[in-house]
């Protein structure tokens, strides 16, 4: 093969690999967001803040308590899930009968409170979540991916599969489906929808924290990182269809790869714009999401 063509091919493959790694990070962020929307009917602006908390907790547990990164990641996920229960109890549960707009404002308020609280508690200085996988690379021929990004991809796939299985095959998952598809019907079936909301929210917050702990080490950590996370999450959720877990998977991968190829072959300045462009197209032509088959199971 012509060496120039080969070099082009390597760059292309590398860009696709970069996009896949980023995309799976987006998937992890988006799954919790889409679940909360589907089951609680809440657009949770504070989702990114739970991502941020997950990253900070992992940082403090590894850097200060000296616990191994993987252990810290699990602790952070559980701790943030617990915080999610409290947040739901105080910010969303009391407003359940209120207008959607009130709930939207409440989630926005929670996001601001957490972001500013984080600046106060954790400081404005950037931090780096130490993981031994971040600087170690995996070289597949000429294509280079860090072990951290491989970890992101693997965990994201595993979490998607586990979440899907949980929703389809466990009692609690079926209760989530029922609550999402018909809240009043669920109540009359005997489902304690308040309880379903609580564990769904906690689960989503745990997922957000997990994504923060995993994706956090690919860049520096600041208290404003939640804005970025929730924005990417929203784009994926809108692409994949609100409330759809499988949609989040395809939406995340598509966004990651589109950004990577768009940034690589059009212009880097265009990279962030790609997400917005896709959103506008989706809202115009397929407001139910690209990957939602109308009555598709979540």
């Amino acid at each position: 093969m012509d060496s120039d063509v080969f070099a082009q091919l390597v760059v292309f493959t590398q860009q696709v690999a970069n996009g896949l790694a980023n995309g799976m990070g987006y998937v992890l962020i988006a799954v919790g967001l889409t679940l909360v929307f589907g089951v609680l009917r809440i657009v949770n602006f504070a989702h990114g803040e739970f991502y941020m908390l997950g990253a900070y907790f992992t940082y403090y547990v590894t850097a200060l308590a000296g616990i191994d990164y993987l252990g810290a990641l699990v602790l952070a996920t559980l701790a943030v899930a617990a915080i999610g229960i409290v947040a739901n109890q105080f910010f969303f549960r009391p407003l359940r009968k209120e207008h959607e707009f009130t709930i939207l404002l409440s989630s926005l308020g929670l996001a601001l409170l957490m972001a500013n609280g984080a600046e106060y508690v954790f400081g404005a200085d950037p931090k780096y979540v130490p993981t031994r996988y971040a600087d170690e690379t995996l070289e597949i021929g000429p294509v280079v991916v860090t072990q951290q990004r491989v970890l992101v991809i693997a965990v994201a796939f595993a979490m998607i599969a586990a979440t899907y299985w949980f929703i389809r095959h466990t009692r609690m998952g079926k209760m989530m489906q029922a609550t999402a598809q018909n809240p009043e019907g669920a109540q009359l079936t005997g489902i304690n929808t308040g309880f379903v909301h609580a564990y769904t929210f906690a689960f989503a917050c745990g997922l957000a924290a997990l994504s923060g702990a995993l994706v956090g080490p690919t860049a520096m950590l600041t208290h404003t990182v939640g804005d970025w996370a929730v924005l990417k999450g929203f784009i994926v959720v809108v692409m994949g269809g609100l409330g759809s877990v499988t949609g989040a998977l395809f939406g995340g991968i598509l966004l990651g790869v589109a950004e990577s190829l768009g940034g690589g072959y059009v212009s880097l300045g265009f990279k962030d714009a790609i997400g917005y462009a896709i959103i506008i197209l989706v809202l115009l032509w397929r407001p139910q999401g690209l990957f939602s088959a109308g009555s598709g199971r979540r």
Partner: protein, 376 residues
Amino acid sequence: MITRRTFGLSAGALALGATAGKALAQDKSAVRIAAIAPLSGAGAFDGQLAVEGMQAMAAVINGKGGVLGGRKIELVTYDDKGVPEEGVSAAKRALEQDKVDLIVGGWFSAVALAQKEVTRDKIINVMTSSQHPKVTEEGHKYLFRLNATSTMMSDRYAKFICEKMKLKSVAFITINDDYGRLEVENYRKLLGACNIEVKGNEFYNRNDTDFTTALTKLRSLNSDAIYVSAINTSQGATIYRQIRQSGYKGTIIASAGNMNPKLVELSGPALEGVYCVSLFAPDTDNASAKAWMAQYGKMFKNEPSFIGSLGAQAVEVLAGAMDKAGGAREYDKIAAAMKGQPWKTLLGEITFDGKGQALQNIYLIQVKNKKIVSAS
């Protein structure tokens, strides 16, 4: 969001009391200096370092009795968010609402360029770390700028790169703003002149956190070195790390004037051995710098940084010039004093040219064992 904080610096209160008797008839209110810096957004940490540097120097000066025969220096901080519009509105508030005596700001070039029109000929305004030549090009009478312009920096840095680094080719990753575009243009010219081939450049945006796309393209160019233009610590550290994570094994050239201890800490092994040019070398034996670093260490948990030293220098020079002029609002006299003599500062002796541009000493530094040290 905390957009404005007033710090009453009482560190010098005791010393003040001791000198108060001397000048009973005089005004004893504090001299209020506006510190306009990015305190939120992507540049928040750099803004924090800058303001901390100013505060430490103010405390040193207040500790020695303050200025103008016993008035202490008080800083009023404003958040410009690293955005020109916010910088303009902060300067307006400082000038019109809070009626401060002096203004220090202009950490980012884009902000400085917009802000200077608000303060023009109304109040002494010292711009700090911005490197864009246009900041002082027109030479407004009350406008000063401390940092070496990117042209001054790049002249010095390019000379070193050409003579010592033995490179055949280089590629750039550059922030897409006034500063970055100018910087890459400078180095293209300067390095081209000494026969280093410029193989390419990738622009990134101020809020980017993932550079793998750009780095994949740069890596495929196979240049001997990658020059990183990054003024924001958080982004800089991410870029340095991701360069190594992308599998690039060539030389890294660090952004001129943007080396700081936090960057070294965050970048980990990626910055080891990397050279840079700076106005501040932490291993200096300058007495003012030592006093400032000691005070800084008492007040803050961050390490004293270049950006903080520029803030400190602003306060130091303004304090000297106010004393010389005999008032905090004697702007013509202060401006004349600043331009009229060399100033001994924590960054060594400097002078200002007729347009208010400081002529600073530029040092070559290197990261060794995770410390920033002077290099020869």
